[in-house]
Subunit: 302 residues, 2 copies
């Protein structure tokens, strides 16, 4: 049995448009309705055809829905939820795809009292943004984390879980605050550091921008990918998951200071020990299918 028959997606960027495409690919009988606040995105979505219907207002998109997924930056979740509240069928399930979950759960519950809210976070994406960037296989083999409120009905959580499994994802459930700490270290801090180093490199005086670009294959280019991610999305993530991000950043800074000291005092053994330990983490990620086994991310070398 299909978990839902009429899915509405609010926000048709990379993630929203990927969900729409994935539903078409994996559950072709499900009707997909979409809305985006940006008229240009609505026009692109209509032209690309990944929704059965693109509506001009958020309310019109949800009147007939049994599952509504908010795919907007986390700072816009409350407004998106407010905009559908009056037209939402009472038995519709509402979810989202935000990268932080504590503040989002609170915002959705405040805007939609009495509605079954089951927040979700598919841990997948690319550095691209917009409706053109989405693709149906984005969630294959990736994890989707559900953070239901404590009083959520088990059957409703299971319907949302089944929806994500149908899109090719593996599903895990955890408390919102634990999610926010796990993702602070596996996603938010990496993005923050990538943005920082790309900024630092851009601001050098005696090393030109052109030199930074030319010799980026020495390692720097790996950081530029995630530092090219959507600025609005990431601004909102850091502001909405402030406490966990600041805590992880503090730990990182302490570890960086220790390494700085090891370099200054020529403690080669300390460096070697850490560099050996970190190799094993990469091996585990590849063994568990969370990255390409091919060297250099499988980049082409012709």
């Amino acid at each position: 049995m299909l978990p839902f028959a009429r899915v509405t997606i609010i926000g048709l960027g990379l993630i929203g448009s990927s969900i729409a495409r994935a539903v078409k690919a994996h559950m072709p009988s499900v009707r997909v309705t979409g809305h985006d606040a940006d008229p240009g995105v609505r026009a692109a979505a209509t032209a690309l055809g990944f929704c059965d219907d693109v509506t001009d207002t958020p309310g019109a998109a949800v009147t007939d829905a049994d599952f509504v997924i908010l795919c907007v930056p986390v700072g816009a979740m409350r407004a998106a939820a407010d905009s559908i509240a009056l037209d939402l069928p009472i038995d519709a399930v509402v979810s989202d795809v935000g990268s932080s979950k504590g503040t989002v759960l609170a915002a959705l519950q405040a805007a939609l009292p009495g509605v079954a809210v089951i927040p979700a976070h598919p841990v997948a994406g690319t550095e691209r943004s917009g409706p053109e960037a989405g693709f149906a296989t984005l969630f294959h083999g990736r994890w989707c984390i559900l953070t239901p409120p404590e009083d959520a009905a088990e059957a409703t959580v299971e319907r949302v879980a089944e929806f994500w499994r149908r899109l090719g994802a593996e599903v895990e459930t955890m408390a919102p605050d634990h999610h926010d700490r796990v993702l602070a270290i596996t996603s938010h801090l990496p993005h923050l550091i990538a943005y920082t180093i790309v900024g630092t490199a851009s601001d050098m005086e005696e090393v030109t921008r052109s030199e930074v670009i030319k010799y980026s294959a020495g390692g720097f280019r790996d950081f530029t990918r995630i530092a090219a991610s959507d600025p609005t999305m990431w601004r909102d993530v850091f502001l909405s998951n402030k406490d966990a991000v600041l805590d992880m950043l503090q730990r990182f800074s302490e570890d960086l200071t220790a390494l700085q000291r090891a370099i200054r005092w020529g403690k080669g053994d300390e460096l070697f020990d850490l560099f050996t330990r970190t190799r094993a983490v990469r091996r585990s990620i590849i063994e568990q299918g969370q990255d390409d086994a091919a060297p250099d991310f499988g980049r082409t070398h012709d």
Copy 2:
């Protein structure tokens, strides 16, 4: 005309074995002799067949050479140069592939007085190590930086430049100390930060190792690739380019502190401005062919 007829490679790991394979592919009439201090690597190199000859001693590898390339960790450069000094033909040109150049140039000149030493740094590699990891196209479209001493003969520099162009690289010449500052920001600092964050994530108490692995597609996995690079090579890089690395690290830490403050005080505009600026750097890298244009590094999504 071929720049060299008899090339000797000391150190048959990722870079050395890639050079050997690339010479076979692009200059098949050139004779390639190899040596590695590790008998297991010599046996593997013999079995893989990318050298015409693999010798048991470094001296035997160079007796007939007109070009010798030292492909060992930068901390082992002096010993490698010492080991060939007695058997080196007087007119042979000596080069290397080390990631730092100031200390390496000094070490090679001290070990090989009167010899034409033209240090080089091909800015290319993968996270793999060893003779099995090399491939002939590794240097295609990558930059190779030459850092000749001030009194180097122009014709000799040009022969080494032509050698690298034949392997598919683009060649640039700069002073060793400028190289060391440029690479500190484009390569050494990125590696240091990647090693640090992978260590920080491994040491969390309340987030398990298994969670870090599972949700690594949120960004963390990008860092694990370069944190899987060869530990000996990288220990030596940081110790040999200490001053430039510590200076870049200081700049990075200042920028990170500014971002930390922006998050703590909710300054969304500052975050948004930086995140918009960093996007442009990625675009330039792709436009100049220094990374794949495909999203997500061209990783497969099936």
